[in-house]
Amino acid sequence: MNIKEAGHLLAGMMAKYDAEYIEAHLEESEASHLTYRGKDLESTDKTSAVGGNVRALVKGGWGFVSFNDLDDLETKVKQAIEQAGYVSGGEAKIKSSSPIVERVVADIRHNPVNIQLAEKKRLLDEYNQVIWAVPKLQTSMIGYADGYRKYIYLNSAGSYIEQERADVTLRTTAIATDNGEVQQVGLSLGSPGDFNAIKGLHNQIREIAENAVKMLAAPQAKGGEYTVVLDPILAGVFIHEAFGHLSEADHVYENPQLRELMTLGKTFGGAHLNVVDGALVPGLRGSYKYDDEGVPAQKTYLIREGILTGRLHSRETAAKMNEKLSGNARAISYRFPPIVRMTNTYIEAGKTSFKDMIADIKEGIYVKNWYGGTTSMEMFTFSAGEAYMIRNGQIAEMLRPVVLTGNVFSTLKNIDAIGNDLDMNQGGGCGKAGQSPLAVSNGSPHIRIQHCLIGGK
């Protein structure tokens, strides 16, 4: 049985059960990976998956069954309902919306999985040669992945939505060593399925390799508070990590103190600060038409002119908080129930040029590129892939990579300049509740933060 047949079977049985809500996901996916460690292609593989799940809400409790075999679907529906009933006394409710029956054809020019492995390898070989041509380089790592997924969502209210999505990611890392010291610089890029988006990166890749070598001789920053300027990539990671996760209503909805802290209408930053999340923004890795609860995607202003104006919802969190659906329920695959996730998250462009932004900084740090980031809601840390001193309004010497940390509430207020050069970073993946990496994008113009804590000597 294929997922379409399974979908029709399930659609026929959904309505007859006594549950507040039942939904099912069915999915067929394929993916390919190529990895390089050192000079040679280390591994290449192709994988496929077929599977699905049924989730049921009964008397405020959730049941969830995931599976690889599409046989005996009725038993699976019954099991999910039985499990939900067993929770008893739960308080979950969902916000319903009008049923949607639609087949969404994605704007996928080519399914990237179907491109010949030889063609992918040819491009990656070129990039690897660029890295290895840089003197004093120790080694390189390249990870390429693509995927294509066709999936069906249906629920007991009569929705039946077929969608497809594709994804391409490339991460290259250049590693330089000297005398037991190791330094690395990486470049991550991606696209919603277009292989051409990762072509022509030779110059950028040469630059990261050169920077890895340069970093060996760079001094470490002295730990402490600085005026820090973030490039669009790192500022995008910052807004995703530091603020985006806090906007996910599932962190907030059951927590009275956090709800108080995140009351809509509160001031979070200067009037120049606008923060958006939205899958409706087209052509990005976090874009889609319907989320994994069959809710139409939106563009949500999280912060507008410095004021908290919105947050990200699933059906459950929207019902509990009595707010509008935002279309942010996502699952990384059929193995997981959908949870509140970001899509494309960014700080809108402001008016300051980069030159003006650094002009009056006597001693500060310019941080570029992304290495990673994590958050505990209030506090965040994120790592810059590259760092430079700013002295008397000029970019000065290179530093070892730095880790920045801070409290999100004070840091957002400490953003005192927003650049005019918004750029989206498509190379990231987001992890939450064991579901990682989810395709998202984030972005920002250059931003300047006062009093930012930097780890160091």
Binding site: G38, S43, E91, Q138, V182, Q183, Q184, Q257, M379, T405
Partner: protein, 433 residues
Amino acid sequence: MEEILELARKVSDEAEVFMMSSEEAPVHFEANRLKAIQSKQSASVSLRIIRNGKLGYAAASGQIEPRKLVDIAVETSEFGMPAKFSFPSAQDFPTVKILDPATEAVSIGEMKDLGQKLIEPLVKSTEGILCEAEVSRESLTVRISNTRGGRAQYKKTAFGLGVSGTLVRDTDMLFVGEGQESCHPLRDTKAITDIVLRQLELAKNTATVSSGQLPVIFTPDGVVSAFLPSLMSALNGKTVLLGASPVGRRLGERVFDPRFSIFDDPTLEYAPNSRPCDDEGTASRRTALIEKGVVKNFLYDLQTAGQAQAQSTGSGCRGRGGLMSPSPSAWTIGTGEASFEDMVKEIKEGLVIEQLMGAEQGNVLGGDFSGNVLLGYKIENGRITGRVKNTMVSGNIYQVLKEVVAIGKEAKWIGGGVCAPAIYCSGLSVASK
């Protein structure tokens, strides 16, 4: 399984089929209440072939035609790396106890009760705390078969208890938590809640430390969050082969404190990561990686070992997507002689670190760690005085662990994969605001 192997045999020099199926039942609590009961059934198959001396690979979850799987493996083998090994022929595996039928017999009702018991004491002790808890049981079956006669099959069970609490006051947030895993059913919820209650007690007051060089005691959890990412990368045979491990050329040399040892041991009874053989059918064994500060070995799977002219340590592990790479089973860091209390007593001003957030984001390969203290306490004149916040701690494991002040005499399991003592280090760089 045999059908795939037979088809593959016809088009390759050697072939191996790996099949895994699992059934998992997590019972999940949120906001102090039971929230969801789940059942996750999964089945996957992967095929590796050596064809014209090169490796090919294909994997599928759910249904796939055997013919298609073989075709994909052939296609990828065109670009595959030259195989530096043969699949292992039939061999004896050690007896590793990993199956407890009692685990499968735990009812959902009992799992619900266990979850309640993880939450109740915390809610009682601390007003406003919101807890999440998960009680889960799993059973897993693995089968491996290759064309050189290698065969393996085992079944194991796993059980987990975990609870975490969040306490928000104004814009201040405190995160506490503890979890344990075993192949046996776990019923001692008090052992877990006592740890969390102690965290809550120690965090009641807040304290500020000075910026500068300070002594730090990393608790077992702190050891994992600060040191483990770098150690795991440095001791992985793949990193060594690349020339990117700072200890790669230092086999037999003393790199760390003479009291510092690390073993990887997949044969520990009823440890959740234990197994009779690794994912390519090499027998499990205990491997000394660092012994008394001296670099003894690295973790290898067959291919990496073949490339490095070393022996597989039985550490072949299929990661996400199923590709093979060397990976630890259960890291055991050797214990020392100091009690935790004695270590604290010695310190005039310093820190206890339970969780360092973001430590794995820095230059892990080079041994750097730098993170925000997510859960940690200040020591003042030999006693813990309160929780610290807005504090960054940075260091490099090759400097910090070269000479430590003391190692704790008691080890603690962190999750199912690491067993570590506390480590007391001097002169870490602390920046606070």
